[in-house]
């Protein structure tokens, strides 16, 4: 790509970030809050101490797992909005296995391993359901997935208030916490588990090479670009799409399993914590390029952790991080459209041969 186009691209991206910051500043002013103090609190809340930074990593891990999964479905041209439900069902399966095995002679570490495996299976099964609805029922994955998200939430709430309710009174606080020996080991004095961190890093590395260096990845991309052409070229399209759902669900289920074994140590109603939808946002922001997933997810995780300070210090709602993240993605999408309109796709004005680059 010629140097001038590169600089122009960067210019447009910087403009998008500035516009997003301008919009959120306006929102802060409307809410009657001092904008600079608010931004300062977010940075302070996420980066000021080492333990706060590790909290950002705690939030980064599930986000990394959902993005890793979503990169696979995105490659196949699928909008896996059902990922929230897949995280939730993963957590439910993990809780189920711990409950079944915790009073047996099975060694504690094996219980944890089996429960995480069950979470992976649970997420994959829930994703396959969305895939089957699409492949065999003609139900668009967006609507099938959304419906399944609600069903997953209903299932969780039913379990918490019904069969798995706490002795005494059931509440939105979740099921009875598991004894400490059924949680993943943490770094001393931190909330971060080395195991989770390893899973998060491993996930994105695997997906990066899967999509970049394997035949399977190539076929998925072919399906995503042009399903009809891929089919005519002899790629078994629906089987690959189901496999993409399965893999994405497995990563989502792992995220749910870690939410139970490393963070909450029980099942709570909002166990997925919105990481699935946030993963979709990050995916759009990085234009589905795996290489950018880790840094952008870290930034989003930092916003999540930092904005917890807002209700404490400024009496603002912590949903501000969601506003900032959403506005950022929206403006990046819109300036990208503007750039293509002004400069042509991939710099058409600078010569046609650049067209295929993006």
């Amino acid at each position: 790509m010629p140097k001038r186009t590169v600089w122009l691209n960067i210019l447009f991206q910087v403009a998008a970030v500035l516009l997003a910051l301008g919009f959120t500043t306006l929102v802060l002013v409307m809410a009657g809050a001092p904008p600079l103090v608010a931004y300062q609190r977010i940075i302070y809340g996420s980066l000021s101490t080492f333990s706060r930074f590790t909290d950002v990593l705690v939030s980064w891990i599930p986000l990394m797992l959902t993005i890793s999964g979503l990169l696979i479905t995105f490659s196949a041209g699928l909008w896996n909005i059902g990922i929230e439900g897949q995280v939730t069902v993963g957590a439910v399966f993990t809780t189920l296995v711990i409950r079944l095995l915790m009073d047996t002679a099975v060694p504690d570490s094996l219980v944890i391993a089996l429960s995480i495996l069950a979470g992976v299976v649970g997420g994959a099964l829930w994703a396959l359901l969305a895939g089957a609805l699409k492949t065999f029922g003609g139900v668009n994955e967006i609507f099938g997935g959304l419906g399944l998200n609600f069903v997953a939430t209903a299932l969780t709430i039913w379990l918490i208030f019904g069969p798995w309710k706490r002795p005494g009174v059931a509440s939105m606080a979740g099921t009875e916490p598991f004894p400490a020996e059924f949680s993943l080991p943490l770094f001393p004095d931190l909330r971060l588990s080395p195991w989770s961190l390893a899973f998060g890093i491993l996930a994105i590395v695997i997906v990066y090479f899967l999509l970049r260096g394997t035949h399977f990845g190539l076929k998925l991309k072919a399906i995503g670009r042009n399903m009809r052409a891929a089919f005519l070229l002899g790629i078994p399209t629906w089987q690959h799409m189901m496999l993409a759902f399965l893999l994405c669900g497995a990563f989502a289920g792992l995220a749910g399993a870690l939410q139970v074994t490393a963070i909450y140590h029980r099942l709570i109603p909002s166990i997925s914590s919105g990481y699935g939808f946030l993963g979709l946002l990050v995916g759009m922001l990085i234009n589905y390029q795996a290489i950018w997933a880790a840094p952008v997810a870290l930034f989003f995780a930092a916003l999540n952790v930092g904005s917890i300070q807002l209700p404490l210090v400024l009496k603002l709602d912590s949903s501000f991080s969601g506003v900032l993240q959403g506005v950022l993605v929206l403006f990046v999408l819109m300036t990208e459209g503007l750039r293509q309109r002004l400069l042509g796709r991939g710099g058409l004005r600078l010569g046609r041969k650049n067209q295929g680059e993006k």
Binding site: V27, M30, A31, G32, W79, I81, L133, F136, G137, G138, V139, N140, I142, F143, G144, L146, G147, L148, F150, V151, T153, A154, I157, W158, F161, G162, A170, F277, L280, L281, M284, L316, D317, S319, F320, S321, G322, V323, G326, V327, V329, L330, L333, M334, E336, G337, L338, Q340, R341
Partner: protein, 332 residues
């Protein structure tokens, strides 16, 4: 349950369906023009909060509803601008807006949490409300519900019986043909997306100023309605009458869930409240399954009489989207 309680309950079902109807009818118009506005869930929350805040600040219900419509139109304008002019994915932009507007409503609505606010009162229509059974059912409602009744027929008439309605269907089905016949496809798509958005924006104040008066942030219980409305739009086969049937059916099922709660104390109320969602998937499955190839194969293997019955049943449920839904249009 005696008759009068039943009538009151059913009248409640009609009122509860009003906001869903606004959302579904607005989305039907938008999608008829070939544009998907996926932001419904956020739009409804933001217009509910915005309408309520405006009504609290000014004391005017009318301004509250207008604010809701303006918010809906504005969000739809962003969808139209991003997709029609800037060629970005409608699904992506709509999804971002759905999340963004939701968080925006929670953030900006914080100071209005739990404040007392004005509420639309019931306005019985003289004479008509005296009719036995039908009177209390249809003519003892508030203005929002009457508007929802009227809109169903106005939009149906517009889409199927008028010349601009024909053009609307044209730009959603065969934009190239409509363009050749002189329709300005892009401008019309902008127009109907924004009009559709304004109607969707009525849904929010219909909750916060009428049937679920007030603003309670995350526990307002409105999160999720927008996604349901999108599903009902498909169930409605992009036909206002069928869409209305879907909205009433959903509202009825929700009421049934609440009514059954007293009979089934073992099932937590949260579960019965989400019971319509799996049913919605099921109906979507039924609406779409007639399009699947393997269904045809199974049908062919059934005995003659049975095949005809099953095929007729599936055909009746089947719905196909406007042919150019979500497809960008370029005149060159």
């Amino acid at each position: 349950m005696d008759t009068s309680t039943l009538i009151v309950s059913l009248a409640g079902v009609l009122a509860w369906a009003a906001p869903i109807l606004f959302a579904v009818l607005g989305e039907t118009i938008t999608e008829r023009a070939g544009v998907i506005n996926l932001s419904l869930n956020g739009t409804i929350l933001l217009s509910a909060m915005g309408g309520f805040a405006m009504a609290v600040d000014t004391g005017s219900l009318l301004l509250g509803f207008l604010t809701g419509m303006a918010i809906g139109a504005l969000v739809a304008l962003v969808v139209a601008l991003s997709s029609i002019t800037l060629h970005q994915s409608q699904v992506a932009v709509g999804f971002v807006l759905a999340l963004l507007c939701r968080d925006l409503s929670y953030f900006l609505g914080n100071p209005y949490m739990g404040l007392p606010g004005p509420r639309l009162s019931t306005w019985s229509i003289p004479l008509l409300s005296e009719i036995p059974y039908l009177g209390p059912l249809f003519f003892d409602q508030d203005l929002v519900t009457y508007t929802s009744f009227a809109l169903i027929f106005i939009i149906w008439l517009f889409v199927y019986k008028t010349r601009p309605g024909l053009a609307l269907r044209g730009i959603g089905e065969r934009p190239a043909a409509a363009f050749v016949r002189g329709a300005n496809v892009k401008r019309l798509r902008y127009l109907y997306t924004v009009i559709g958005g304004a109607i969707i924006g009525l849904a929010g104040p219909a909750y916060s100023l009428s049937i679920k008066a007030g603003w309670k942030g995350t526990i307002s219980g409105l999160d999720g309605i927008g996604w349901i409305a999108l599903a009902i739009t498909i169930f409605g086969g992009w036909n206002p009458l069928r869409a209305a049937f879907g909205a009433y059916l959903f509202s009825f099922l929700q009421w049934l869930g609440l009514a059954l709660q007293t009979r089934l104390p073992n099932i937590p109320s949260q579960v019965l409240q989400v019971a319509p969602f799996p049913l919605m998937i099921l109906t979507l499955l039924l609406v779409n399954i007639g399009n699947a190839e393997w269904v045809d194969r199974i049908l062919a293997s059934l005995p003659e009489g049975m095949r005809r019955v099953v095929a007729r049943f599936l055909r009746a449920l089947q719905a196909s989207p406007p042919a150019s839904l979500g497809v960008p249009f370029e005149s060159e």
